[in-house]
Symmetry: C3
Subunit: 346 residues, 3 copies
Amino acid sequence: MNKTLNEIAAFLGGDVSGDGGVSIERIRGIDEAGAGDLTFVANPKYRKKLETTGASAILVAPSTVCAGKNLVIVADPYIALGRLLSLFHPEEEETAGISEHARIEAGADVSPEAVVYPGVHICRGARIERKAVLYPRVFIGRDAAVGEASILYPCVTVYRRCLIGRRVVLHAGVVVGSDGFGFARPGQENIKIPQVGYVQIDDDVEIGANTTIDRGALGRTWIQRGVKIDNLVQIAHNVVIGEYSVIVAQVGISGSTQLGKGVVVGGQAGLVGHIRLGDHVMVAARSGVHKDIPPLQVVAGTPHMPHREWLKLEACLPKLPEMRGTLAALKRRVAALEEKLEKGPS
Amino acid sequence: MNKTLNEIAAFLGGDVSGDGGVSIERIRGIDEAGAGDLTFVANPKYRKKLETTGASAILVAPSTVCAGKNLVIVADPYIALGRLLSLFHPEEEETAGISEHARIEAGADVSPEAVVYPGVHICRGARIERKAVLYPRVFIGRDAAVGEASILYPCVTVYRRCLIGRRVVLHAGVVVGSDGFGFARPGQENIKIPQVGYVQIDDDVEIGANTTIDRGALGRTWIQRGVKIDNLVQIAHNVVIGEYSVIVAQVGISGSTQLGKGVVVGGQAGLVGHIRLGDHVMVAARSGVHKDIPPLQVVAGTPHMPHREWLKLEACLPKLPEMRGTLAALKRRVAALEEKLEKGPS
Amino acid sequence: MNKTLNEIAAFLGGDVSGDGGVSIERIRGIDEAGAGDLTFVANPKYRKKLETTGASAILVAPSTVCAGKNLVIVADPYIALGRLLSLFHPEEEETAGISEHARIEAGADVSPEAVVYPGVHICRGARIERKAVLYPRVFIGRDAAVGEASILYPCVTVYRRCLIGRRVVLHAGVVVGSDGFGFARPGQENIKIPQVGYVQIDDDVEIGANTTIDRGALGRTWIQRGVKIDNLVQIAHNVVIGEYSVIVAQVGISGSTQLGKGVVVGGQAGLVGHIRLGDHVMVAARSGVHKDIPPLQVVAGTPHMPHREWLKLEACLPKLPEMRGTLAALKRRVAALEEKLEKGPS
């Protein structure tokens, strides 16, 4: 691929500052970029590298100034980068076709336009729609469904009756529909409560490697349209994740908890069960959330609190030992004062 | 399936309050339930929904009052729910048989009454007992064993010489017997200590999706009878989990730590290595456990402490910035008092 | 295997104290060891068991005294244990050969000296070097490479263009090269930024079960020579882990963070993105690291702080409720003093 900076700016709807005739062959990170490369600055932390990068051109936000550099100025450099990457790195087309080395049980309904690799197993009653891609070792349980143009990477397991929408991406090792963790008299008899529900994953969801999503005990665990979930996340039975929410790696969400739309949960956070987070709540990484949160709040810490309070607490915490010393000293000084006053002026 | 409320009460050994002749077709959650549905209230949090549910009948604990509703009163509604679910959703029988597309090495001993799906791989010296079900992509290493009626879901890996008991359930992606993390001079040479032990999983254990259990360095890592482990849990080498213990999702237990019977560990908690937790200890979610805990204690927090202390600490923590301000102000006031007294009464 | 204590001491370059003629058949843990067994004490915590073990001999560090026991004294008993285990438990040789039941796409380059089990899938353009062992269900994406003598356990997935060095061990369920978590306007539109980079894993790396390593957004995610990573760890896009670093289970490292050489990160710790940890930094288990750390520092806590400060804080934390009471009482006493002084001596 080879484009001039002017062509790139036109494609992105941006403006060139500098030499629009320069030729771009590749897109690279700001540290690695050299002649023929276009790079970008989206995170302000890297703005200082603008002057030292060897890149032939840089994708920047408006108001970025850098004399002597070729710039493409766009409203949102990160989104523009995404569009350019799609241009420079088009997806390789998969050849449609169903491998003769896939195991498709009688009574499964697989579109002839689907891509089914060797080693896939599709159980009876399952439905695979057109342009879906099932990589080797994918398992689709009985009566489960995979919608149009969804991609299931190797070793994805979809248990019986779970429903995967359209344009869904499940990365390697994702488990959809394992039994929820329901045992009566825990620690004593551990009597299993059958988990007879299912998982519903709506269109345009992406789920990261080795993430696990348990089936509902009754009814469904529901991942709504446009949700993005990172790697190694645990979603328990009957959880609902609202549209366009984002769940970062290693988060755990306990049973029956419901997230509104556009909720963002930072990495390694944990949510107890049976609570509700309102639309557009933001939960900082590593927070422990133990009760309902109204819409639009930003919370952090364990126990979670408004983010502003957490920042103050975070600043104070290391001072606690010193505070303890101060407190003990003050106690002595007050006792001395009391004694002095008790005795009266000498 | 179609049962009257009287039939259901008789099956459960419970009592009907209201119309025992009402016909029940399905069991559903309290929000979704409508005509023909039976629902339940096990968690007191949902008791207020009793009056608004559209269910034809509700499974409740004794002393629950709800005028005008059809109730089935049982000692433990959650256990009763489990029994009813087994009645309304019987397990589909797997057809016994060993797929010709499974790879069974010479010298493996597989019961003809086992169910072995295509794509299973069983190494030499391994033993699979009757009624065991091995889903596609299960791997059984050399000299490993799987007991009667155990179910191994897709992509379960059992390394060499590991022993799985009877009626064990391993959900998709579980790894049993990977090498423990044993390296001498960590951060310098990282000299590997060969991990020559194994994992022993006793009868009636259930292990959640993508959980990992490392083999012993020497001897065994041991999961005792009736233990239930949730998804994405890490069990290190030579850990012992006592009978009927319950380990919630994303917990990590470090090497050689031993749990007594009936221990319950909440989600995302972490236990250091080489410690002992007594019988029936309860560890709250997200706790960091750093030393031995005597039997029957309930602990929480990082560092862990008795749960009652943790509740007090949790309530105080957000007050810390305010305390710091109070302390600074007091210090000034005490200094002023001291100065006043030093100078003597004016 | 059968060796006298003298032979073992000679093999290890150690000294015998006691009867060098005693015959050793097995190596076992200190609790289980009996006649014919050699055991070891590496962790000082177990030194008290020296006197009660039934082992025929014990591997110990210099200056260990234990009258009446047969000892082999070596500089580092843990390293010596590793060497002895390799002697007593030699690796079983895999028979070289490529299974006819593996799927090798045209245009893949697989050494005839590699070991490729049934059910392996190797895509076009991939290269597998001699003595590499690929267990069943391993997937090697397009143009990926696996170096000499590396071992990939079952259900390992290597995405397209990722590079695995020599003598690398990837345990079951490891995912190398899944898409990094890059979405513009998170919580609103979640616009995917194509992840067009790769993962590079250098020689002598070992990675634990079900760990996930995302591909670079641009360029590489890089795990350098000799690094050891435990189970269920999340490594985000464009992270760099320096040589011989050690990452314990369930750690999460966010995007573009760089670790120097010999860094040790304890279990369940979390590192934010875009920071640098200097050479030989140590991060305690469960720490939350939010900014750069200079070389050689030891940190702990959330937010992380020098380990010495954390120890003080950890000791103070449970005292916080008591401190709060003391502070309130002091406030009252100071107010009383102020009032007394205001009124003047009575």
